[in-house]
């Protein structure tokens, strides 16, 4: 296997506290998505499909599950010789004490030794909690062709939403970045940063070393490193990404991202044989659809047993809908059981939750999606 010149580092330390109970015990990248996946499967599969052999995953918050999950690099085919997924939580070193990752840039700074050991020419920085398919090899080709010092992937967002994002103002011809504004009140462009960066490692290394010593720094790529590079007159370019991209920060948006899979021509297209998303291989039966079941507009995976009604919903591995139960406009995470006669509507039911007989969860006209994270007792 040919050695790759680009090493990827996935930032996966965040909690994602607006996902409430879903991230009580697991970090956001480990949250389930799309019936059988975890969110971190997307950047990892993208790396594997882009021909990147070595991926570091920077973990911090509630990382037991995430660490063991990503360490099995074989799931994404990242287990050949000289290939691998490295779990990188903060660690004590011979010359430095143990310290948490103080920001996205600090997480990389604390692992300069690891990156050096692989001597990459380019470093790819990714977020572990975004859902999208992207060929990083194409982004690298753009980076090289632009003779860039750093390239930032951007996506066009509706201008009225642009103030929610980090916005790149570019010179129209070449997409060289002239200005970066974090959540601007009056955005001048609609190119939102996706938090995906390619850096020339030698340069970034120097900047990180300087940043570590700067007491005024937040040690953050968006707040510190990128602005400094622009000030220094470095060549930064925006790489325009077209396609599905979602940062699922809230229960509503996680629900919505799942619902997106129900649209017949959804852009994410998990059925694309040329860009498969790999995940854990679970040992379950195929899907059972019972004699009295009704299943329409649903996304259902192996191990599910549907004996009741499922409509406009996504069912994750091993969830069960008993006879007479109704699941409408909802997401059932792995192992959920909806007992006979229960009704689940506009809800996102967390892993392994039991909805008792004739119980009701969620409601058809709620403003927000209800997160069901505790057992719902049955009613007679």
């Amino acid at each position: 296997m040919k050695q790759n010149s680009m090493l990827a580092m996935i930032l996966a330390g965040g909690r994602g506290s607006r996902l409430h109970e879903l991230t009580n015990k697991v970090a956001k990248p480990a949250v389930s998505y799309g019936g059988k996946y975890r969110i971190v499967d997307f950047p990892l599969s993208n790396c594997a499909n882009s021909g990147i052999d070595v991926v570091g995953v920077l973990t911090q918050y509630e990382s037991i599950l995430l660490n063991s999950y990503v360490a099995a690099g074989g799931r994404w085919g990242l287990d050949a010789k000289d290939s691998g997924v490295y779990v990188l939580p903060p660690r004590e070193k011979a010359d430095v004490g143990l310290d948490v990752y103080r920001g996205t840039a600090d997480a990389i700074s604390q692992n300069i030794d690891f990156i050096d050991s692989r001597s990459p020419e380019y470093l790819l920085i990714l977020s572990g909690d975004h859902i999208y398919k992207m060929n990083y090899a194409q982004m690298l080709a753009f980076h090289k062709a632009s003779k860039a010092d750093a390239t930032i992937a951007v996506i066009e967002v509706p201008i009225k939403e642009a103030s929610r994002f980090g916005i790149m103002n570019t010179d129209g011809e070449t997409d060289q970045i002239v200005e970066f504004e974090e959540k601007p009140a009056e955005p001048k462009s609609n190119l939102a940063s996706m938090g995906i960066y390619i850096f020339n490692w030698k340069l970034l290394r120097k900047m990180l070393l300087a940043d570590m010593k700067n007491p005024d720094s937040n040690h953050d790529f968006g707040k510190d490193i990128i602005p400094t590079m622009l000030n220094d007159g470095k060549r930064l370019f925006a790489y325009r990404f077209k396609g599905y991209w979602k940062d699922v920060g809230t229960i509503d948006s996680l629900w919505e991202a799942n619902m997106d899979l129900l649209s017949p021509n959804n852009e994410l297209d998990l059925n694309d044989p040329t860009w498969k998303i790999y995940t854990e291989d679970v040992t379950t039966l195929p899907q059972y659809i019972g004699p009295e079941a009704s299943v329409t507009n649903a996304y259902i995976t192996q191990g599910c047993i549907v004996e009741g009604e499922v409509k406009n919903s996504v069912l994750f591995t091993g969830s069960k809908v008993r006879p007479g139960a109704k699941v409408i406009d909802s997401v059932l995470m792995p192992g959920v059981v909806v007992e006979e006669g229960a009704v689940v509507q506009r809800a996102l039911v967390a892993d392994n939750i039991h909805i008792g007989k004739n119980a009701v969860a969620g409601s058809a006209d709620s403003e927000h999606i209800e997160l069901v994270a505790q057992r719902v007792k049955g009613a007679e």
Partner: protein, 378 residues
Amino acid sequence: MYSAFGIVNSSPRNILVEGLQDFRPIGAFSFLGRYRVIDFPISNLSNSDIDRIQVYMDNNKPRSLIEHVGTGRHYNINSKSGHLQLLFSGARSWRDVYNTDIAAYIENMESIEKMHHPYVVILPNYMVYSQDFDTLIGSHISSGADITLLYHTIDNAKESCLHCNIVNLNRQKGVLSIEPNPGTAKNRNIFMDTYIMKKDLFVSLVKKAAAYSSMFSLLDIVNAACTGQIEGMDLDVRGIPHKGFFAPITDFRSYYDANMALINIKEAQNLFGEGWPIYTRTNNSCPTHYMDGADIRNSIVSNGCLIEGTVENSIIGRGCVIKKGAVIKNSIILADTLIGQDVHLENFVVDKHARLIREKEIIAPVGNPGYIKRRDTL
């Protein structure tokens, strides 16, 4: 935990599953949408803590079986101490009279003699059942028998298992003889082609069989030991009954019936026990999308499908597309098949990659399922 190795045997030359077997050996047949038949014997061994496994290949089109079994990693066998070997027989052709299991064992005697495990479990790649062999070896040892055979009692032996053998037992479960199912009685003990014995005995039986007749099979020599056909061979051969789901895949009808029987979830629970996972090779398919207008009842569906039509009492393999207005009843659809708009299909097995688009009525009589070839366009 007993120290044993496993031998997964290929089907004997008298068994032919029309249609499907033209393309692959029975072990590689798709089963219940996401499995292949051989997943059951190998998972049984793996779950029984037996992780030295020899898989004997049919010389008949082995490609798909080799691809599927591969290194055996997905069967959860220990990646260092465990080992799965694919072994071939020297028979020139599959239907050759010399194509016996004994010939294959002789060909691979070096690999067999190298095994340091005192016991061997021999089981077929063409029968679907779950069995804990660790418990079975324990029973074998405590009974003091030389050979233990696994059998399954059925009450419809006049119509089913006609290509199987039966064991005739005395009251103490001693095996009197093994013979082809004559189809004359309802109640029979069907031999599951599954043996437990000491490795040394196995090796000596193989050599004895080869010397006695070039057409002899392991079954023949064990039967000879029971009946006294060969002088001086005196072995204690006993039967142990198997409980749970059992389906030998020995002809087209039995393949169809075995799949259909498992659409019933209660029946499936007799095969897929708690804590007894059946492993298979993952295909990394996404979940299945049931579109608006889909009507699915009493069916088993694999991942990666797009379903807009009606499916009733059927099994749908991975990655199938079922278009609007299509109706599928009492059928088994293998992976990556397209069932076009308004196609009405009943009582069929549709082999992989078939495209059913032009003929709108494809219906076989109930009780006599039809077969559509791999990669066919209709």
